[in-house]
């Protein structure tokens, strides 16, 4: 994971339930025992270093990206002002909005598949979660989260090659007819890249959901059993609703990973064949650093940043409403 995951508690200043009894006012009074004015400034001194790094290396570049996006600039010579021209190009040129559509398609693989599989797995192994085997599995399935995504890209490029393991297995089970170079075929390259993402995300989602399940009160299940509920009804009426929080987290983390994917694709397909696996992150990189169209790259970058916010915020708000 190359990215800090997104907040799962959008309600960042609701006092946490454990300390709900403590009156906020009382706490404030307590802290400001020292002379309020001096305390105030000292308090700010604590924030300054973090804020300085953040402003210089994140906020300023964000402003600059917006600024660059209004210019036609090759990064070396003088820039010319084009206003919204670059944005019009982004929405009109299929090689620029195509990557955005590809990223959305990747969400299916990065989010939907790992979460579904994770739910099924977690629900199935819930009862043996304490066994030695489960303990071992917990470590093993986490490995993809720990290795660099670059490594995942290298490994899977090799597995998916025409004489790689995937085709070998297919031939072994008599499906020799459908073997192909998965990353080199227009129809399968994007799903193949998506599978790499699914492989990376599956372990994290499974463990998150499993951890969530361990918090569910066992008596709920007992009661359901007595009512004669089968495993399916148990799953839909108890497990799924209790895991809302964890599911929202999984969705957020994986969706961001899908929309801002770069490493895996840079290594495995470089956006090919054609532009069938080109994603915004890679296209920004190409535009800025190989085609030297910095303005256009920045317009796409702004689009991507807005897009991520536009997708993630509703998810957060939905989760929040459910909690209230």
């Amino acid at each position: 994971m190359s990215q800090p995951p997104a907040p799962s508690h959008p309600s960042w200043d609701r006092p946490s339930p454990h300390f709900g009894s403590r009156a906020v006012g009382a706490r404030r009074g307590g802290v400001h025992k020292t002379s309020p004015r001096r305390g105030r400034w000292i308090g700010y001194l604590f924030v300054v270093p973090a804020l300085a790094f953040y402003l210089v290396f994140v906020i300023r570049p964000i402003f600059l990206t917006v600024q660059y996006s209004m210019y036609d600039w090759n990064g070396v010579t003088r820039a010319t002002w084009v206003g919204a021209g670059n944005y019009l190009k982004v929405f009109a040129d299929p090689t620029l909005y195509g990557p955005v559509l590809n990223a959305f398609e990747l969400i299916i693989f990065f989010s939907f598949i790992p979460i579904t599989l994770g739910l099924v797995t977690a629900a199935t192994v819930r009862r043996i979660a304490e066994s030695r085997l489960a303990g071992l599995a917990r470590t093993i399935v986490f490995i993809p989260q720990v290795i660099p995504l670059v490594a995942a890209g290298i490994i899977w490029s090799w597995l998916l090659a025409s004489n790689g393991l995937v085709n070998q297995l297919l031939r072994a089970i008599g499906l020799g007819g459908i073997t192909k170079a998965w990353l080199g075929d227009f129809g399968t390259a994007l799903p193949a890249v998506g599978m790499i993402g699914a492989w990376v995300q599956l372990g994290l989602c499974t463990l998150l959901l499993l951890a969530g399940m361990s918090k569910i009160d066992g008596s709920l299940y007992e009661a359901a059993r007595l009512d004669g509920a089968g495993p399916l009804r148990e799953f839909f009426s108890i497990t799924l609703p209790s895991l809302r929080q964890e599911i929202v987290v999984c969705v957020t983390v994986t969706v961001i990973a899908a929309l801002s994917s770069f490493d895996i694709i840079y290594i495995s397909t470089q956006g090919g064949p054609g532009n069938s696996t080109l994603v915004p992150g890679l296209q920004i990189f190409y535009l800025a650093f190989s085609e030297n169209r910095v303005g256009l790259a920045s317009a796409l970058a702004v689009t991507l940043m807005v897009l991520v916010l536009a997708v993630v915020l509703p998810i957060q708000l939905l989760a929040r409403e459910d909690n209230e």
């Binding site: 800090p4 020292t34 093993i140 986490f142 090799w158 070998q168 599956l202």
Partner: protein, 274 residues
């Protein structure tokens, strides 16, 4: 809760499948790494004449020692500084509640979902103007900034739950704010700090985009960046590439297996809290 026999069996089978799904790629990588350098082995087949020397060869050509040392230096640059300044900020926002703390928090939280690609272009020119291109600082400084949203948010979540009485008791003893912070709060924040440290270590070690753009020399890159360069240089020799990839992954995996509990806990908490 006694699980029925059938459920247990299905559960075990699923677990084993899941582990196979995770591990198969590594097995394939390992077996391929033992084939003759320069050959194009088909799928997974144990070579007639395993070339254990490939690992030594990859170790040399990837300059593994220098490479790991470089990643370590970058981690040592990023993690301690980030921990210290994020803890201070989290303390001010979460515990002292300086005026405007909500706005400050909002400002940091705004950066939580930021895709790095969004700001990589101006970052390049900024680092160039600082004269830091192709140095480790080119990775260290921006990463500290980029990790601030998560780190401050994380530490603030810890400090919000610290009862005010802690500070009050210390104040009565005549300690000033700075002393209270270091003597009382930092020791108490140790669990939160160690989890955050693990996460930052991983994200730094595996950072790729910044290294590709800002640092050309593989020996000044992070492990992930070096792996990318290694692929650039040896991508034409599959067995060697596989051996090199395994070697470059080895340190992280080793650290992971030693501290697996802490890692898993940190990552799960990180995604839940973050």
């Amino acid at each position: 809760m006694i699980a029925s026999k059938r459920e247990t069996v299905i559960g075990r089978i699923l677990l084993i499948l899941l582990m196979l799904w995770t591990l198969m790629p590594f097995v394939s990588l390992f077996v391929t790494a033992l084939h003759k350098s320069g050959s194009y082995p088909a799928g997974v087949e144990w070579p007639a004449d395993p070339q254990w020397g490939n690992f030594a060869l990859a170790f040399q050509s990837a300059q593994m020692g220098a490479l790991v040392w470089s990643s370590v230096q970058i981690v040592l640059g990023v993690v301690p500084i980030s921990l210290v300044i994020a803890t201070m900020a989290g303390y001010a926002i979460g515990h002292l509640r300086v005026p405007g703390h909500k706005l400050l928090l909002l400002l940091f939280v705004f950066g939580l979902t930021l895709p790095f690609e969004g700001i990589i272009t101006p970052l390049y020119y900024q680092i160039r103007d600082f004269g830091l291109l192709n140095t480790r600082w080119a990775i260290i400084l921006p990463l500290i900034g980029l990790f601030m949203p998560f780190s401050v948010y994380w530490m603030r979540a810890h400090f919000v739950n610290m009862p005010a009485e802690l500070s009050e008791a210390a104040e009565v003893d005549g300690a000033n704010r700075w002393q209270i912070f270091w003597r009382v709060h930092v020791p108490l924040a140790r669990p939160a700090l160690s989890s955050l440290g693990i996460l930052l270590f991983l994200w730094t070690w595996n950072q790729f985009l910044l290294t590709v753009v800002l640092v050309n020399d593989p020996l000044k890159r992070t492990a992930a960046g070096a792996l990318g360069a290694f692929q650039g240089q040896w991508g034409t020799d599959i067995p060697l590439l596989c051996a090199g990839s395994l070697l470059i992954m080895a340190p992280t995996l080793l650290v992971f297996f030693i501290f697996q509990r802490q890692f898993v806990a940190a990552l799960l908490q990180g995604s839940m809290k973050g």
